[in-house]
Symmetry: C2
Subunit: 360 residues, 2 copies
């Protein structure tokens, strides 16, 4: 029985990946030089596709790292001299904060209980914060900000670098990148690729900040500093040998998504989200973890179970449907269901039917 992974990352591969992998092998993609023309074409097509798909402004740069976790560290090195401010509402927003602390910089925070988002009307952000970090979709809890929250923070703090974590949400909802200075994601979530690649979007304010730090003789890292990224990106190259195969797959999958149309992907995301919401509403063993409906993630549904969640996970697994457990302390009491572009309406319907018909 072929399994279907509804785990919130790594997740099910995008349904075209297997074919692209075959073609990659046929065309020797893993053997090509990352300083040659074939690679430069892959780099250019990937960034062009991402720009179209996500509507990333022309003057924003797109760089490639090995993960979103790496980008947290690179932001800490390149964009923070002394002090940052973090909206913390779960394990991933917390991890970014702790990475900044590891770099011996001050990371202040506003913590709210898991399942909630920081109230942008009430949050007190010191003017001394050089960078404000918001996690659009907290994958550990399924709590998701609305873009209007980001707009309000942008309006209130025009001079700070605004950093937006769009892991496990881009490209499934519309994101106004002009509101932020930097954003990033990894490819093993909504893009349905193997893990091992992060995408980092930065504007020129970020470039300037990294140069300011450098001018003060502060270290901004080495091969993956912003200036090094830009020098190479101008030639459609990367500072070090990258995960070429994954970049090729990202080129192909973003191409497929553009052919399908981003509007269609988002319409389907909304439909499948409604179905998952309905399923949680109807299930006698599930209830929504995120109380505020507008903050319920469209891509990462999280529900409390009134039985041990592993019983539900196991019962579904026996039918080939793999869903995620709760994160951290919620491992045994919650489930997480990914609603990514690769998950078809029929697959989500099947999952829903199974959840509602199980006798546990």
């Amino acid at each position: 029985m072929k399994k279907i992974y509804f785990t919130p990352g790594p997740s099910q591969l995008y349904f075209t990946v297997e074919e692209h992998l075959k073609k990659a092998l046929k065309n020797d993609i893993p053997s090509i030089s990352h300083r040659g023309k074939v690679f430069e074409e892959i780099f250019k097509n990937t960034t062009d596709n991402l720009r179209s798909l996500l509507q990333i402004p022309k003057d924003y740069h797109i760089f490639f790292t090995s993960s979103a976790t790496e980008i947290w560290e690179r932001i800490g090195q390149n964009l923070i001299e002394r002090e940052s401010f973090h909206f913390v509402n779960g394990a991933f927003s917390e991890k970014f904060k702790s990475i900044v602390t590891n770099l011996n910089k001050i990371a202040r925070e506003q913590v709210v209980p898991e399942g909630q988002v920081v109230d942008v009307e009430k949050v007190l952000i010191p003017e001394t914060s050089e960078l404000i970090s918001i996690t659009l979709n907290e994958t550990s809890t399924g709590a998701c900000h609305q873009m209007s929250d980001i707009a309000k923070i942008r309006a209130a703090f025009p001079n700070q670098i605004l950093s937006l974590d769009v892991v496990s949400i881009a490209p499934c909802v519309e994101i106004d990148f002009t509101l932020v200075d930097t954003a990033y994601f990894s490819v093993q979530k909504c893009f349905g690729l193997p893990a091992g690649l992060g995408v980092w979007i930065v504007n020129d304010r970020c470039m300037e900040k990294s140069h300011q730090l450098l001018d003060k003789s502060l270290s901004i890292g080495s091969y993956h500093s912003l200036p090094e990224f830009l020098i190479k990106a101008k030639k459609n190259q990367t500072p070090a040998t990258p995960n070429v195969l994954n970049m090729y797959l990202l080129e192909k999958v973003t191409g497929d998504m553009l052919l399908k149309g981003i509007d269609q992907i988002r319409i389907e995301t909304n439909y499948k989200h409604a179905l998952i919401q309905h399923t949680i509403n109807q299930s006698p063993i599930l209830e929504h973890f995120v109380q505020n409906t507008v903050n319920r993630s469209k891509t990462t549904a999280v529900a409390n179970c009134n039985i041990e969640s592993n019983l539900l996970i196991k019962a579904l697994s026996e039918k080939g449907l793999i869903i995620g457990s709760g994160y951290g302390n919620y491992k045994n009491s919650q489930i997480r269901i990914a609603n990514f572009p690769t998950h078809s309406k029929e697959q989500i319907e099947m999952l829903s039917d199974q959840i509602l018909s199980l006798n546990i």
Copy 2:
């Protein structure tokens, strides 16, 4: 016409990789959680296989990064407080040095002309050096140290951390890891895998050094610091979502190499190396770049061309044989030929025949 890549990395995939990739897809390896049992098994088997294949001592730890370049930076963060010393004889040994400088630490060096190795009898290394870096096989020039050089430096500097770059040479020659404190390589060279994974070997002296830096409130990076690696490795896990697919492939390829036998791999390496040496000797258009025979790399042959090297590269490419150009300033005047475990005797013989029969 299917091409054969004799480029010194990325190179030809190990001949079993395509089959392993198919099985990885069948078994949903790209979708599994890196916190689950299946991944932990992959981690354990991969480190066990590497330990057997390379004869890595039991008390050395094995960690996984995204590249060897990343390991340069991690060494700079974790193992150097103030000052390191580098044997520099080409682009890659030079890059490591410059990364340490980027981290605002002092990187001293002994530079020798490209095509040579530093003379271990004459080099003057300050006692204040906390770490001594030697590149066993300089991929840009094909100059390779003998293990006796490493033994002499170890004997003369018992208290320094000795760091050995074994990129593009492990597992093709015998390396005595007990002589060094840390060593590292990337998988897209001799292991014949797609790029995107680095392997970092460290002993407890390295672990202690990173803790000393931490105790002095110095930053040693964040998620990929040595203490973080060790905490997770004890559970057969990684600090962040790794390149799971490549780790799976490394598990399988090292398994294949163990079945073949490391002695057989090294015997074949020697045979193919002799054949390439003979070819360069016989060719009217080629001459060895590395003058000292004992320092000629067994895995990375580099030759000067008395014609524009691109003419030779192009002529061979038309026959499906892809060899490397010279590195950096030598791009148009040299060729580089990889002799990795995936390259069969027959393939090297075919390459040799073609080089010697070309009319250019």
